[in-house]
């Protein structure tokens, strides 16, 4: 598991599938090989009023770690992250009386996964309750585990195929964790950040 950067991407006057096609052409021209599919999904549950102070649980799955369920408990001031095995999903079903999910907020990003040198690139189409919201590009540099060490390198890579719209600063979530060892849960945090933005956006979200 290497350092991963997640960023939104949009092109003027282009639909989602068109944007993905442009990007996949660019990345293949750089020598990438397509390697299967990926899917990251997120379901959000909120505590019922009887439990007192409202808390939110975000449950996420990442096809990269298929045997793990990630959950982020948000009590308004602090987010607690938890990585568990698949049984957690069943546990959430048992707790449906205390934590209810709003079905129309189920968010997911799915698409094709590419390998290029030591990088993984994933071009994801984001939908919130099946409505198209935008494109998320995930780039992972597998050999390096400390964001501060390889941020410049990743920035250069991103600029290489996203052009001028590539991010110039690390994702907000990573900014005060640049010196720490990167773990899969950090990717989950980044996805949640973007999913939350997409859910709030009325239509198609643009940078």
């Amino acid at each position: 598991m290497g350092v991963t950067i997640l960023t939104q991407f949009a092109l003027e006057n282009k639909t989602g599938p068109q944007t993905v096609e442009v990007l996949s052409k660019r990345i293949c021209a750089l020598g990438a090989v397509q390697q299967g599919h990926f899917l990251v999904d997120c379901e959000t549950y909120t505590s019922v009023p009887q439990l007192g102070h409202q808390r939110t649980v975000h449950v996420l799955h990442n096809s990269e770690q298929p045997a793990t369920v990630f959950s982020l408990l948000d009590n308004g001031t602090k987010i607690t992250a938890l990585a568990t095995d698949g049984l957690f999903d069943l546990l959430m079903m048992k707790m449906s009386q205390f934590y209810t999910s709003k079905k129309q907020t189920k968010a997911e990003s799915k698409g094709l996964r590419y390998e290029i040198g030591d990088f993984y690139v994933k071009l994801g189409t984001v939908t919130v309750s099946s409505n198209y919201k935008g494109i998320l590009v995930e780039v992972e540099y597998r050999p390096c585990v400390v964001p501060a060490m390889c941020w410049d390198l990743l920035k250069e890579f991103l600029q290489g195929f996203l052009g001028l719209t590539a991010p110039t600063n690390p994702p907000t979530y990573l900014q005060n964790r640049m010196q720490e060892v990167y773990t899969p849960i950090d990717t989950i945090h980044q996805y949640l950040e973007h999913f939350t933005m997409f859910r709030k956006s009325p239509g198609i979200y643009r940078n």
Binding site: M1, L30, G31, I116, G117, D118, F119, Y141, R142, P143, C144, V145, V146, A148, M149, C150, D152, L153, E156, F157, G160, V181
Partner: protein
């Protein structure tokens, strides 16, 4: 041997030519008179054609006979050794064994050929790992052995280098052995597994921290594979039979420069990436980072 095979090939070729020309005789005979023989004197034309073809066949036959006469017959029966018993194999799946056997024979034969060539080239550019002098005058001088050193000496060397670089962690194996294999962690960037032969560095593998400490499997990442190759080059470059400790020290000093592997841009082109790799080369003297293509 070489000549025999050449002649055998020539003979086989001659037979091939003969067969093909005999075939055209029969083709011509079976076709009989054709439109392109015209109207006038078509029979004579046809006979001429046949005659010409038969002369060619005659010539070809002579060639075959000559070629066969040149061959030197094998003295005695042709021995296949134990492989003859393979012909008595009755189970279906084993019948293919002979073909595989022949292939592996060819393969080993090629290896022998290549290694002989490689041996010659290496002998011409001699690179000795042991310090030897062949002149009788110097022979009496005792030279310190690099191979056969007390484990404590190596341990001392390693711990002295360890003190030199605070951001490098050395993990020697215990109990002490004459030829230790140590793990060297370069910050959070990478680790190397280094095998010593006495005071000499014998083998280096560079890997990611999450990968196994096995000496024989290479890293799954391209960047570390490249650095492994470069470490091999460096281990030969710094090698010095007279000052083995200095050699290890210089190697470690050079190796330490990889601490900036992911963060330092290439000294020449100023970029981080070239063909999706960071600068994987470090100059032996200046220790500056370069891409493989920029050095």
């Amino acid at each position: 041997m070489e000549r025999d095979i050449e002649q055998l090939n020539a003979a086989l070729n001659a037979i091939k030519v003969l067969r093909s020309n005999v075939r055209s005789v029969f083709e011509s005979v079976s076709n009989g008179l054709r439109a392109d023989h015209g109207d006038e004197g078509k029979e004579t034309k046809f006979i001429y054609e046949l005659q010409e073809l038969l002369t060619t066949v005659n010539n070809n036959l002579r060639d075959v006979e000559n070629a066969v006469a040149n061959l030197t017959p094998q003295a005695g029966p042709f021995s296949l050794g134990n492989t003859t018993y393979l012909s008595q194999e009755t189970t279906q799946e084993r019948q293919a064994l002979y073909g595989q056997l022949v292939n592996s024979y060819k393969w080993t034969d090629k290896i022998r050929e290549y290694s002989a060539v490689a041996g010659n080239i290496l002998a011409a550019n001699s690179f000795n790992k042991t310090y030897k002098t062949y002149s009788t005058a110097k022979r009496r001088k005792t030279t310190t052995s690099n191979h056969n050193v007390a484990p404590e000496v190596i341990e001392n060397l390693i711990s002295s280098i360890d003190r030199l670089f605070p951001d490098v962690t050395f993990t020697p194996n215990r109990p002490l052995v004459p030829n230790p294999i140590i793990q060297v962690s370069l910050g959070r960037v990478l680790k190397a597994i280094i095998a010593f032969k006495g005071l000499m560095i014998e083998w280096v593998v560079v890997k990611a921290h999450a990968e196994s400490n096995d000496l024989w499997t290479e890293s799954r990442y391209r960047v570390f594979k490249r650095i492994t190759e470069n470490c091999h080059a460096a281990m030969c470059h710094f090698h010095s039979p007279l000052m083995p400790e200095l050699a290890v020290r210089s190697f470690m000093h050079w190796f330490h420069s990889y601490i900036t592997l992911f963060s330092a841009p290439c000294k020449r082109c100023g970029n981080h990436l070239n063909s999706n790799l960071p600068p994987t080369w470090r100059d032996f003297r200046s220790l500056e980072p370069y891409h493989e293509e920029c050095k």
